[in-house]
Amino acid sequence: MSNVFIALQDTDEARPIIEAILADNPQSQLTHSPAMVKIDVPNRLVIRRERIEEITGLPFDLQRIHVNLISLSGHIEEDDDQFVLSWKR
Amino acid sequence: MAVKTVKPYRFAPRDTVDKFPAPILYIGWEDHMMFVSPICLPVPPDTPFQALMDKILPDAYGMHPDFAKIDWSKVQWFKSGKPFVPEPAKTLRENGLGHKDVIRFRTPGLEGIGGAYF
C-alpha cells in the first residue's frame, strides 16, 4: 500500500483544513517543515467541507484549498462536499 | 525518419567539420576527474600524433601533479572506448582520427590525488 499526500502552507488560513484532514484520516502522518505542513496517508485521503465548517463555524468553499495548497499526490476526485486523493480511481 | 512530423523534417547537422577551424578531437584522461569531463579541441588533421604528447596534452593536463610522472611507454590508448595503438610519427588523420572522434589515455599506476581518481 502506498501513501498519498497533501502539502499545505503553514498559515492561519490552512489550520482548519489541516485539522479537518487529521480528524477524518486517522492514519495521517504529519510532517512540519518551515512554512509547510505535509500529511501522508496510506492509500486514501479525504477532505470534507462539513468538517472544516464544523471547526471554523463558517461556510467554506472547498475550492479555497487552492489558496494554501502546495503539492499533492494521488488521483483526485472532487465535488462540492469532499476532495479525495487516492491511488485507486 | 524516426521523428513523427506533419511535413518533411530535415535539417543540416549543426556540427559538421566545415564549420570549425579544424576537426574536433575529444580527449579524456582516465582516472583523473580533476578534468571533470573529456575536453574538446580543434586540432588540424596533419598534426603528428607525437604533438599530442609533446604539446597538446601537457598544455591541457600539465597542472596535475600526476602528469609529470607519466611513463609514456606504458600509456594505454583508446579510441571510442576500444584499445588503440597510435603511431606517434603519423598524423592524426593517418592514425584514423577524424572529426569528433574521442580518444582516452590511461596511465597505469597513477590514480589521481589521494587515490580518489581526481
Binding site: S2, N3, A7, S33, P34, A35, M36, Q63, H66, V67, L69, I70, S71, L72, S73, H75, I76, E78, D79 | M1, A2, V3, K4, T5, Y9, R10, F11, P13, R14, D15, K19, F20, P21, I24, Y26, G28, E30, D31, M33, M34, F35, V36, S37, P38, I39, C40, L41, P42, S80, G81, H99, K100, V102, R104, I113, G114, G115, A116, Y117, F118
Partner: protein, 516 residues
C-alpha cells in the same frame, strides 16, 4: 400559501461542464483536421473526448478569484521584504547563488511553458483539456512575472541577477534547461503534455520546487518562499492535468501504450538530467541545508515515483527505463556537478566555493557510500590550491552530451571511477552522450538532435563573439571575448565566492545593520 421552491444550486461538475464543454462545436466551415492539424500525427488515438475527466474543476470566475487572492498576498510580502532590506536576514550571501541559478535556469522555463501550453490550449480537440491548458498558460506567465519580481530585489544589491534572459539564450550551462524545453515545445501536443505536465510537473516537480522553496525558508529568503508556495498551488493543478492526460491516453486505446511509454522514458530522463543542478544546489549551496539530494530522491523519486508507477502498472506502463540509473546516481551527481562548476567558475554567472569543515562532515554523514571515498579528497585539494592562490580551473572546454548538453562528467552506473562514454554515428557524423538513456533518445529521433546548439561547439565555430570581434588581433583572449558576448561582468558575476564583491558587500552591510 405559497410553496417554497428551493433553487437548486448547480454542482461543481455541472457548473464546470456548462462553462467549458459548451465552448466546443464541430466546425462546418472547414474540415476538423484543418482546424486541428496536430491531433493525429503523433499516432495517439482518441476515440471519445467525452471520457476526459477534468482534474480540477476551476471555472474562470473561481480562477480569477483565487489567483487574485494569491497575487495580493504575494505582492504584499514582496513589498515588505524589499522595504525592509529583507536580504540582510539571509543566513549568508552564498545562498544567493542558488537563487541566481533559479532566475537564470528556471524562470525562463516558466516563459517557455507559457508558450507551450498556449500551443496545447489551441490544438487539442477536447474543450476541457483546452481550457485546462489555457489556464496553465496564464499560470506559467504569472510564474515568470512573479519570479522576476520576487528576485528583482536581489538585483539591486548583488551580482549575477542582471541579465537572465540574455544568458539563457547563450551561456553554456543554460543550454541544458533551454534545450530541454525547446525539445518539448517542438513536440506535438500529446508528447508535450507527457513531457511537461506528466514527467516534469507530476513525477519530478517535488524535486525542483520543494528543495528550492524549503531552501529559501531555511535561509531567510522570505521573498522566494512566498513566491514558491504561491506558485506551487498552481503546480497542483498542473500536476493533476499531467496524470489525467496520461490516464486518458492509456485508456483510450491500447496502441497508445508503447508510444506513451517511450515518451515517459525520454522525458523522465531528460527531466532528471536537468535536476542535476538542483541536487548540487541542495548539497552545496544552502548554508542552512534542508536535506540531501540523496534524501530528496529517496522520498520524492523512489517512494513517490515508485507508488505512481506501481499504480500505472495496470495500464501496462512500467517504471521509466532510466529509473535504476537515476537511483544509482543519487550518491554522485551533486558532487560531480559542484566540482564541475567550481572548476569552470571563471565562465559561470554565479559563485562557487569549497565547503567548510562542518559542511564536509554533513556531506560525509549524508553520503556514507561515496563522499569520503571520492569527493572529500577532491574538495580538500581544491581548498588547498585556493589557499595557495592557484585555484583549480579547467582551462579547456568540455565535451557536452549531444542530448542533455551537460558536460560529460557523469560516471558509469555502478562505477564512479569511470566517466560514462556512449556514442552513435548517424549519416556519417559522430555524436556523443553521457549515458545509455541520452543515446537512446538520440537514436530514436536523430533528426532532432543533429540540430543541438552545443555552446562549446558554437564557441569554436566563432558564433559566440560580439560583432566586430577580431580573433586574429594580437593579445586576443577568447575567454574574455566569450564572457563579453555572454554579457557576464568578468570579475563580478563570475569566479569564486571568497574574493567576490557579493561577499564583501554582504559582510559590510550586515555589520552596518547590526552596529552603530
Amino acid at each position: 400559501m405559497d410553496t417554497r421552491v428551493e433553487k437548486k444550486k448547480l454542482s461543481l461538475r455541472e457548473r464546470y461542464h456548462l462553462m467549458t464543454r459548451g465552448l466546443g462545436w464541430e466546425p462546418t466551415y472547414q474540415p476538423t483536421e484543418k482546424v486541428f492539424p496536430f491531433t493525429a500525427y503523433e499516432g495517439i488515438k482518441i476515440h471519445d473526448w467525452d471520457k476526459w475527466e477534468d482534474p480540477f474543476r476551476l471555472t474562470m470566475d473561481a480562477y480569477w478569484k483565487y489567483q487574485g487572492e494569491k497575487e495580493k498576498k504575494l505582492y504584499a510580502v514582496i513589498d515588505a521584504f524589499a522595504q525592509n532590506n529583507g536580504f540582510l536576514s539571509l543566513t549568508d550571501a552564498r545562498y544567493l547563488n542558488a537563487i541566481k541559478i533559479f532566475i537564470q535556469g528556471v524562470t525562463p522555463l516558466e516563459y517557455y511553458a507559457h508558450r507551450g501550453f498556449a500551443f496545447a490550449g489551441r490544438h487539442f480537440r477536447g474543450e476541457g483539456l483546452r481550457v485546462a491548458c489555457q489556464m496553465q498558460s496564464l499560470d506559467e506567465l504569472r510564474h515568470t512575472q512573479t519570479e522576476l519580481h520576487s528576485i528583482s530585489v536581489y538585483n539591486k544589491f548583488f551580482n549575477g541577477f542582471h541579465n537572465p534572459l540574455h544568458w539563457f539564450d547563450r551561456v553554456w550551462y543554460l543550454s541544458v534547461p533551454k534545450s530541454f524545453f525547446e525539445d518539448a515545445n517542438s513536440s506535438g501536443p500529446f508528447e508535450f503534455l507527457t513531457a511537461i505536465s506528466f514527467s516534469f510537473e507530476y513525477v519530478l516537480t517535488n524535486l525542483l520546487f520543494v528543495p528550492f522553496m524549503s531552501g529559501a525558508a531555511y535561509n531567510g529568503d522570505l521573498s522566494t518562499v512566498t513566491f514558491g508556495f504561491s506558485a506551487q498551488s498552481d503546480e497542483s493543478r498542473h500536476m493533476t492535468l499531467g496524470i489525467e492526460c496520461i490516464k486518458f491516453m492509456l485508456e483510450q486505446d491500447p496502441d497508445n501504450v508503447p508510444i506513451v511509454q517511450r515518451w515517459i522514458d525520454k522525458w523522465f530522463w531528460r527531466g532528471y538530467r536537468v535536476l542535476t543542478l538542483v541536487g548540487m544546489m541542495m548539497d552545496y549551496m544552502l548554508p542552512k541545508r534542508v536535506m540531501s539530494w540523496r534524501e530528496a530522491w529517496e522520498i520524492y523519486g523512489e517512494q513517490n515515483g515508485g507508488a505512481l508507477f506501481q499504480d500505472l502498472g495496470r495500464y501496462g506502463i512500467r517504471e521509466p527505463a532510466g529509473f535504476r540509473d537515476a537511483c544509482d546516481g543519487k550518491d554522485h551527481i551533486s558532487h560531480q556537478a559542484w566540482l564541475t562548476f567550481y572548476t569552470y567558475d571563471p565562465v559561470a554567472a554565479f559563485h562557487t566555493w569549497v565547503p567548510s569543515d562542518a559542511e564536509l562532515d554533513w556531506l560525509s554523514a549524508k553520503y556514507p557510500e561515496s563522499f569520503d571515498r571520492y569527493y572529500r579528497p577532491r574538495l580538500l585539494y581544491l581548498r588547498e590550491q585556493q589557499a595557495a592562490g592557484t585555484p583549480v580551473a579547467n582551462k579547456n572546454l568540455p565535451l557536452l552530451c549531444n542530448v542533455c548538453q551537460i558536460p560529460m562528467f557523469f560516471t558509469e552506473p555502478g562505477d564512479p571511477r569511470r566517466i560514462c562514454y556512449r556514442e552513435s554515428v548517424y549519416e556519417g557524423e559522430r555524436y556523443h552522450f553521457c549515458s545509455d538513456h541520452c543515446k537512446s533518445i538520440f537514436d530514436h529521433e536523430p533528426e532532432k538532435y543533429v540540430q543541438s546548439w552545443l555552446p562549446v561547439h558554437q564557441i569554436y565555430q566563432g558564433n559566440c563573439f560580439k560583432p566586430g570581434t577580431d580573433p586574429t588581433a594580437p593579445g586576443f583572449d577568447p575567454i574574455k571575448a566569450v564572457l563579453d558576448y555572454y554579457e557576464i561582468n568578468n570579475g563580478r558575476d563570475n569566479l569564486w565566492y571568497d574574493n567576490s564583491e557579493d561577499r564583501r558587500n554582504f559582510e559590510a552591510w550586515t555589520a552596518e545593520a547590526r552596529g552603530n
